[in-house]
Every structure is written in structure tokens, then in C-alpha cells.
């Protein structure tokens, strides 16, 4: 009986899904029909050098702040205090490992000491494997010829991460306990993460001056949200039965927190730390634009001279640092599980190894403090032992590719640009704004339900108000095309990885590297291949966003219960049928999440796209960072990116929830009892 009812409901729902598809198609058809006569009207175009009153007001605001800087007590009492404390921490860390200090020509701890301390630390929080990885990774910084820059990057990252954790973990715990705080915090965190960095780099120097503090604070803004969010999530998902047991025994709130909630959420919190470290590292590179020292400077400078090789080897150092930090924090997370169940013998042995390593570390510290050979990384000053060769090899390879693949890449660019991007952009950006708004609202309603409409309407209204409607629409078109490509890659590669362990083992490290390699590194070869064009920006965005989508899809496919796949295979399904009828539908949640994340990641590359010919919002953000007159316009463009992000994120999330609810109804979701 219930089964029958379920089937009936599923038929209805499927029909609903079909109707929804038809409805969207209908809306688009009407749009195209209206677009033909209305094309080019009311597109709210504004030429690059023109300013709207809003942009001028933002300029004035900037000037006003700038003028009061010296006299306002807000600065001396608030911003200066923050700046000085952050500066003090950063300079201290730098003088430990990267910059000459205390009257010495070298930092307090030379390379040998740093390698030893890092290795010791990796073993202490992790295991022997990551300790070995750490030793190798840190040594490679010197071999690549970027010892000091790497240490600067590390010092800044550490400073930012320490502050992130000091603020983020308590805040996250609080947000985990208080629904109200969580509600207030969520949009703020969204904003912090989607606001393009370029937008706040220049104002930051206004408030916190030029120097390490601004770099660290820029990094903080970007890197703090993950640890807050994930900590809150961890606290929230502590099993209620454990909390209730504590309460029933008369535990106070504090006792519950200390003995139940935090220990049980610890693993998740360490995951948050891991994410924050990764974000901080990627941001420290960009902070080079406001003179944050380190590897980012090398990359940026290489970019000015189109020196692909040097940019790459510096990028490689960043990737290595990211991998080391990621693996160490991941090992620390696993350690949370294993450490308390180690037998007394294992614990004793570990203690001895720790003590041994500790002694070695102390010796290394002493040596690197005292002797030149242990302080300066040996090898040629420029390029290090292998850095020069790496750089030359990459430059040669990049030149060869550009020279020989130019025709092919041009063809690809033209096919996608003329076949997909131009028509789509023409439809979106050349339609009157009210037509696009109506279409967006209608589609949002159809795919995500009526509750999304007010949010979408507010976003659209603010976009109109930003004075950058047409630019936003051009950016939207490119974003959609990039997301389509990301999802195509995500599904194809993700399914492959999800089904084959070997493919997974092969591809995953590449994906990890693509995600942490600073975009600046691959811009030059891409420019050589595709020219300054929106397509280059799309490719850059795909490189950055596809790994996330691919991994999510792969994990989803992997998460499909083996028994279901077995059942499908045993009833004679072909591989194709298993994929399309079992694995993908069951991994639906992961696929929709991948689409959502893909979109957000693509959007976060809008500004980088502006650097390579995407124009529109990305270019304006960059220009606003560089040109005094366009400051306000750039700020508005940054806000417009955030608005697009909110619009797309909320709509896709709501649509996913809706799909999901339908799927749960059909019993597709696992782990739900009927």
C-alpha cells in the first residue's frame, strides 16, 4: 500500500520535474522572442570611465576617511591598536624565521633550526610520515632558492592563522551554541568570503597602513570564516545523547562544553583549522599586492616580466607548503582519534622518540643560531640548487606549447566564444534590465520555489542600484559558461574517479595542486594560448573551480552503497546504465553541491579574470584598486560580485534542497528511514 502510494507520488513528482523543465524552457523562449525587438534597449550601460552618483559618493567617502586619518580618535584608539598588535606578532614571527633581527644579519632561527622544529612539530601533532614529508618539503624551499621568501610567507600565514584561531574558535563555539549568533554571523561570513580581495586591499591600507599588518588582516578576513563555520558545525553536530547524559548528571554549561562538546567536536574543529590554513596561504600570496612579503612577491614580479618559469617555481614552493600544512593538519585530525587509545607501550615509545627528536631539534636550533652554514641555506643565491633548472624547464615547455598549440587553442577559444559565450552574453547583457530581472525571478521561482523570490529581487534591485548592471550581466554570462564547463568536467572526471581507485590516486594530487597553485602562475601561459579574452578568464576559473566539483562528485559516487551497485550489476545493467541510473541519481546531493560550489569558486575568480581580458566587473575591481578615480566604481563592482554570488548561491541551494526533498520522498536518500 505504502509502496503504491510512494510510486504514485514519485510519478507525480517526476511529472512535476518535467513540467518544471518545460516551464524554464518556456520562460527562455519568451525571453528570446522579446529580446529580438527589445535588444540593446535599457541595458543600463555605463562606459568604463563614467561614474554613477553612487560611485562618486564612495569616492568622497574614501577621501573623507583619508582626510580624517590623522585627527580621528577612532584611528588612534581602535585601528592603530589593532595594527600595532598584529604588527608586533608578525614582526616577531618574521624575526624568528625570516628577517634579520636583534642586530643579527640573519633571523634567530636559521634554516636548519626551522626544518628541525617543523619536523618535530609535525611528528608531535601527527606521525612519522608527515614528519618526513615536512622535512623534505621545507628543504625543498631552500633547494628552489626561495628560503627566505618561503619563511616570510610562512610567518605571515602563521600570524594570520594564530589570530584566526584565537578569534575564530571561540566565536565558532559560541555560534555553535547560539542560534541567534549563528543567524547573524552566516551572512557576514558569506560576505567575507565572496567579497573579492582586491576590493578591500586598498581600503585596508587606508585603515591599517602599508606593512605586514595590512597583509595579515587581509588574510584574516578571507581565512577566518572556515574555522568559525566548521567549528560551529562541529559543536552543533555533537550527539545530543552525550550532551543530554551530561546534563542529566548535573553538568554546568561550562562543564558540558569542556568535557563533552569540545572533545567530541575536536576532529571537526581541526578540519576547520586545516581549511583556514589553506585559505590563509592562498590569500597571503595575493596580499603581495599591498607589499606583504614572501613568495607572492616573487610570483607578482615574475608576472610583470612574463617570466613563467620563476613564477612557476615560486608557485611550486607555495604548493609544497600547502601540501605540507594540509597533510600535517590532516594527520593532526586523525591523531585526535588515535591518541587516546594508544596502549601504554606505544605511548611510551612515542614519548622516547619525541624526546629524541626534541634533543636533535634543540641542537639544530643552537647550530642555526650560531653558525653561518646552518643559518643561510647553502647554494646559489638566485634559483637555489634546482630552482633555476625548474624555472628554465617550465619556461621552455611553456614557450613550446604556446608556439605549437596556438592554432588549436585559438580554434577552441573561437568555438566556445562564438558558439556559446557570445550568444549567451548577447541575450543576457543586451536585454533590457527589467526583462532579465523578470526572467531571473521567474526561473528562480520555478527551480527554487517562491521563497527565494524576495531575496532574488533584492539582489537584482541592488545590482541595478550599483550602476553596473551591464557589466554584471557580462560577468554572469561568462560565469555561467565557466560553470557549465566545470560541471561537465566534474561529472565526467568525478564519475571516473569515483569508480576507479587508480584514477582517483592518480588525479587527486593534481587537483590538490591546481587548487593551491596561485592563479597568477598560470595566467601567462594561458594568455599565450588563448590571448587576452573572456575565454582565458573562463579557463583560469575552470582550473580553479573544477577540482572542487570533481572531488565532490567523486566522493558522492564513492558514497553510493556498494549493495545498490551490486544489485544493479547483478540485474544485468551495463556500466553506462549503472552510472546514469544508479550512481549519479544516488549521488545527486553531491552533484548539486558540486554545482553550487563550482559556481561560487568560479565567481571568486572573476577578478583574476579581469586581469586577463574578461573585462566587466573583474576589470573594474582591478581598476578601482589601481585608479584613484575609479575607486568607488571598483568598490561597487566588488559588491556586485557579492550580489551575484548571493543570488546564485541562494538559488542553487534552494533548488538543491527542493530536489533533495523530492528525492527523499522517493526514498532515494540513504540513511533515512521510510
Amino acid at each position: 500500500m505504502t509502496a503504491l502510494a510512494g510510486t504514485a507520488a514519485s510519478v507525480r513528482r517526476r511529472a512535476g520535474g518535467l513540467t518544471r523543465g518545460w516551464l524554464v524552457g518556456g520562460v527562455v523562449a519568451v525571453w528570446v522572442l522579446l529580446w529580438i525587438p527589445l535588444r540593446g534597449r535599457d541595458t543600463l550601460a555605463l562606459s568604463t570611465s563614467e561614474l554613477s552618483p553612487l560611485h562618486e559618493r564612495l569616492n568622497d567617502l574614501r577621501d573623507a576617511i583619508n582626510n580624517t586619518r590623522g585627527s580621528s580618535p577612532v584611528f588612534s584608539a581602535f585601528f592603530d591598536v589593532i595594527r600595532e598588535s598584529v604588527d608586533a606578532l608578525t614582526v616577531f614571527l618574521q624575526s624568528l624565521i625570516s628577517q634579520p633581527a636583534y642586530g643579527r644579519p640573519v633571523p634567530l632561527i636559521g634554516w636548519l633550526g626551522v626544518v628541525a622544529v617543523a619536523t618535530f612539530g609535525a611528528y608531535a601533532v601527527g606521525n612519522l610520515r608527515v614528519a618526513a614529508l615536512t622535512a623534505a618539503g621545507f628543504t625543498s624551499f631552500g633547494l628552489l632558492g626561495f628560503w627566505q621568501q618561503s619563511m616570510d610567507t610562512l610567518a605571515l600565514t602563521l600570524a594570520a592563522v594564530l589570530i584566526c584561531l584565537a578569534i575564530g574558535i571561540p566565536l565558532g563555539i559560541w555560534a555553535g551554541l547560539s542560534d541567534r549568533l549563528n543567524r547573524v554571523l552566516t551572512p557576514v561570513l558569506d560576505f567575507m568570503q565572496t567579497m573579492p580581495t582586491f576590493v578591500y586591499l586598498a581600503p585596508l591600507t587606508l585603515f591599517f597602513l602599508i606593512g605586514p599588518a595590512s597583509g595579515v588582516i587581509a588574510t584574516l578576513i578571507y581565512a577566518m570564516p572556515p574555522v568559525i563555520r566548521i567549528t560551529a558545525h562541529g559543536i552543533r553536530s555533537v550527539a545530543p545523547s552525550s550532551v543530554e547524559a551530561g546534563t542529566s548528571l548535573g553538568a554546568t554549561r561550562w562543564q558540558l562544553l569542556r568535557s563533552v562538546r569540545v572533545p567530541l567536536a575536536k576532529r571537526t574543529i581541526v578540519l576547520g583549522i586545516n581549511q583556514t590554513v589553506m585559505c590563509a596561504l592562498s590569500m597571503v600570496t595575493i596580499a603581495a599586492l599591498i607589499d606583504a612579503p614572501g613568495l607572492g612577491q616573487v610570483v607578482l614580479r615574475a608576472l610583470q616580466t612574463l617570466d613563467v618559469g620563476t613564477a612557476f617555481s615560486a608557485g611550486l614552493a607555495i604548493v609544497i607548503m600547502a601540501i605540507v600544512l594540509d597533510r600535517v593538519t590532516t594527520a593532526a585530525r586523525d591523531r585526535v582519534e588515535t591518541q587516546y587509545r594508544m596502549g601504554p607501550r606505544a605511548r611510551g615509545r612515542r614519548r622516547v622518540v619525541l624526546a629524541g627528536l626534541g634533543v636533535l631539534t634543540a641542537v639544530a636550533l643552537y647550530l642555526s643560531y650560531t653558525y653561518v652554514w646552518a643559518a643561510f641555506f647553502p647554494g646559489p643565491e638566485r634559483g637555489g640548487a634546482v630552482g633555476g633548472e625548474v624555472a628554465d624547464g617550465v619556461t621552455r615547455a611553456s614557450d613550446w606549447v604556446q608556439l605549437n598549440l596556438g592554432a588549436v587553442t585559438d580554434a577552441v577559444r573561437n568555438a566556445i566564444s562564438y558558439g556559446l559565450l557570445n550568444p549567451l552574453q548577447s541575450l543576457i547583457a543586451d536585454s533590457p534590465w527589467y526583462l532579465v530581472s523578470a526572467v531571473v525571478l521567474a526561473i528562480a521561482w520555478i527551480v527554487a520555489g517562491p521563497r527565494i523570490v524576495p531575496t532574488a529581487a533584492v539582489c537584482l534591485g541592488l545590482l541595478v542600484g550599483s550602476g553596473l548592471w551591464q557589466e554584471a550581466m557580462v560577468t554572469l554570462a561568462a560565469t555561467l559558461v565557466a560553470t557549465v564547463i566545470v560541471m561537465a568536467l566534474g561529472v565526467v572526471v568525478g564519475v571516473w574517479m569515483g569508480r576507479s581507485d587508480r584514477a582517483d590516486g592518480l588525479i587527486r594530487p593534481t587537483l590538490d595542486a591546481a587548487q593551491v597553485m596561485p592563479a597568477f602562475v598560470y595566467l601567462v601561459p594561458f594568455l599565450g594560448l588563448f590571448g587576452a579574452s573572456r575565454f582565458t578568464a573562463i579557463v583560469a576559473a575552470v582550473v580553479f573551480a573544477a577540482p572542487v566539483a570533481i572531488k565532490l562528485v567523486a566522493d558522492g559516487i564513492r558514497g553510493v552503497p556498494a549493495t545498490v551497485v551490486e544489485a544493479a550489476v547483478s540485474s544485468g545493467s551495463s556500466a553506462w546504465q549503472v552510472i546514469t541510473k544508479v550512481q549519479l541519481p544516488l549521488a545527486r546531493q553531491s552533484v548539486t553541491l558540486a554545482a553550487n560550489q563550482g559556481l561560487i569558486y568560479v565567481l571568486s575568480m572573476v577578478v583574476v579574470g579581469g586581469l586577463v581580458g574578461a573585462g566587466a566587473l573583474g576589470y573594474l575591481v582591478v581598476a578601482g584598486f589601481s585608479q584613484s578615480d575609479l575607486y568607488g566604481k571598483g568598490l561597487a563592482a566588488g559588491l556586485a560580485v557579492v550580489l551575484l554570488g548571493v543570488l546564485l548561491d541562494r538559488t542553487t541551494q534552494a533548488a538543491a534542497r527542493r530536489l533533495d526533498a523530492g528525492a527523499a520522498h522517493r526514498g532515494l536518500r540513504k540513511g533515512k528511514d521510510s
Partner: protein
């Protein structure tokens, strides 16, 4: 591994490490400040993100450090942020300023935190350029009157059916959208978004004989690699660019100048005199820039090379 073995292993390593200390030189503390260092003090030089500027900064920093004993801090900043630094004390010197009348108004006239410090001797030329192969095969292309004739050839996927005029660095205030309109050119302005993108585009265009026209400027190290050819727009006359919307003439030549903070100018530091006297030619700058950009010398090495070869030029800068 038993504890004993581990312990012995550690002991051996420790002894070995201590043995190493016998060889190797110790780190000496740096002497804290010579007399000349005290007299000069610290100079904060903003380094804007192009190689020509980097060349200026390399040479000034080299001389200030080695001849005057100053402590030089180079800060890699964009122009806008550099000027902010005058007010906050983070920046003392901007070595190559391209116009920026708006910033001058804010920081020199209104806030009074900066002062103009004379020309660098470099002439900044901004305009439209084509790759050399194009100028060779179609010599008439360097006259703007003929541009429409070739507009079709300049079409790309980005230019919406018109010819593409590629703009570069977002730092520059450009008149190109107005120029295209006012000269009735069948072109569309496309923003490459960065100097890097622009240079790469010209490089590819020359290598693969592609049609390309874009915004460029000298002095620029890339011109030593690929000698781009300037396209002549209606010549600049004083005031022809007064109304940005009605511009129909070429860009004004820039006299690149130096800006320093008021505080630095009043400090009486010998470095201030050095900056004030600093003047050289486009060729000088290009040779240093080329060493940095193409020959991959470090800033200091490139500066040293030039300083060693041009003693007579910089000797004059050191006089008070």
C-alpha cells in the same frame, strides 16, 4: 625499535651534530650603525608594479645604500596605495610618477603631505601601437585615417564584429573609448586587464603574425624585445584633451616626475638630494629594465652593472 636503540641513535646524531660545530664560521652581530648610516637614516621607496620603475628604484636604492650608507626599504605597491603612504609615513619616495593630477591635488595641494621633486628625465609616451611585422607589410596602417580600412582584420571573438583595440593596464587613465567614438573608428575597446596580458598579446601577435593593435607606452623594457610601432593619431595640442568626452587627439607626452613626502624633503637626508638630482634617459632605464626582465639579473646586480658603466651620470646626482 626499542627505546635503547632509539636513545643510542639520538646520542650518535647529537655527537655528530656537535662535531659539526667545530667547522663553520660563527654568525657575527652586525655593527650597529656607522656614522654615515646615522646621517642618512632610512628611506622608504615605493616600487610600482612595472619594470621601468623597478629599474629606477634599483639604481637609487643601490646608490643610496652603497654610496650614502642609507637603509633602503623597497615597498611593492600600486600607485594609489603608494600615494596613501605619503600621508601615513610609510612611503618617502615615488620615483616615476605618470601624471596623476588627481592624486597630486589630494596629497600635495589638499593634505600637503607630499611635494613634487622634479623630472626623472624620462619621457613617457602613451599611444596606440602595432607589432612591427604589421607596420612593415602595411606601412599605411600607422596613420589612424587608414585604420577603418583594416578594421575587419582586427576582429576577434571579443570585439563584437568590430576591430579590437586592446587596452592594458588598469592603472592608466585612458581616453580610448572616447577616441574610438570621436574619430568614428569601427573598433571596440577590449580590456586586457593587465600589463602582462598586453605584453603577451603583442608578443604572440609578432611571433605568429597576428593582427593586433593596442595601447602601449614607453619607456618599457618590452620595446627592446619587440620594437612596437606607434600609430599616429591626430597630434596632441595643448588643451585638446581638456574634455574627456570630446577627446580626438593623441595622448600628451608625459614628463615623468618624482614625488617625495614632505617629511622626507625636509629631513635634509643626503638621499633626498640624490632623489632630487636623479635624472636619466629612456635608454638608460631600458637597459637596466632589460637586464632585470629578460636577463634575469637581480635588482641589485642590474643596478651595479649600470652604475659601474655610467659613473659620470650618477656622480652628478650625489652633489648637493
Amino acid at each position: 625499535m626499542s627505546n635503547v636503540v632509539i636513545g643510542r641513535f639520538v646520542a650518535v646524531l647529537t655527537v655528530g651534530a656537535l662535531a659539526l660545530t667545530a667547522c663553520g664560521s660563527k654568525i657575527e652581530d652586525t655593527p650597529s650603525g656607522t656614522t654615515s648610516r646615522a646621517a642618512c637614516g632610512t628611506v622608504n621607496i615605493a616600487v610600482n608594479p612595472w619594470v621601468g620603475y623597478q629599474a629606477d628604484a634599483a639604481v637609487i636604492a643601490y646608490l643610496a645604500t652603497n654610496e650614502l650608507g642609507c637603509t633602503v626599504n623597497k615597498k611593492n605597491l600600486t600607485e594609489e596605495v603608494s600615494w596613501q603612504g605619503f600621508g601615513t609615513g610609510a612611503v618617502d619616495v615615488v620615483l616615476e610618477n605618470w601624471g596623476h593630477d588627481d592624486l597630486k591635488k589630494t596629497y600635495i595641494e589638499q593634505q600637503g603631505v607630499a611635494v613634487e621633486y622634479g623630472s626623472t628625465g624620462n619621457k613617457g609616451i602613451i599611444g596606440w601601437y602595432v607589432p612591427p611585422w604589421l607596420a612593415q607589410e602595411y606601412p599605411d596602417i600607422t596613420d589612424w585615417n587608414n585604420l577603418n580600412k583594416y578594421a575587419d582584420k582586427f576582429k576577434t571573438s571579443e570585439s563584437g564584429g568590430k576591430g579590437q583595440l586592446l587596452l592594458g593596464d588598469p592603472s592608466f587613465v585612458t581616453n580610448d573609448e572616447a577616441l574610438v567614438k570621436n574619430l568614428k573608428l569601427d573598433f571596440k575597446v577590449v580590456y586586457a586587464g593587465s600589463e602582462t596580458a598586453l605584453i603577451q598579446a603583442f608578443r604572440t601577435a609578432e611571433q605568429q603574425k597576428q593582427w593586433m593593435i593596442g595601447y602601449f607606452y614607453e619607456p618599457q623594457w618590452f620595446l627592446n624585445e619587440v620594437k612596437l610601432v606607434h600609430v599616429n593619431l591626430p597630434p596632441y595640442t595643448a588643451g585638446c584633451d581638456a574634455d574627456p568626452a570630446k577627446v580626438a587627439c593623441d595622448y600628451a607626452p608625459y614628463d615623468l616626475d618624482k614625488i617625495v613626502s614632505k617629511k622626507f624633503a625636509d629631513s635634509g637626508s643626503p638621499a633626498a638630494a640624490l632623489v632630487k638630482n636623479f635624472q636619466w634617459t629612456n635608454d638608460h632605464q631600458n637597459s637596466v629594465a632589460l637586464d632585470i626582465a629578460v636577463n634575469k639579473l637581480s635588482d641589485d646586480d642590474a643596478a651595479k652593472k649600470w652604475v659601474d658603466a655610467n659613473r659620470d651620470v650618477w656622480q652628478a646626482w650625489l652633489k648637493n
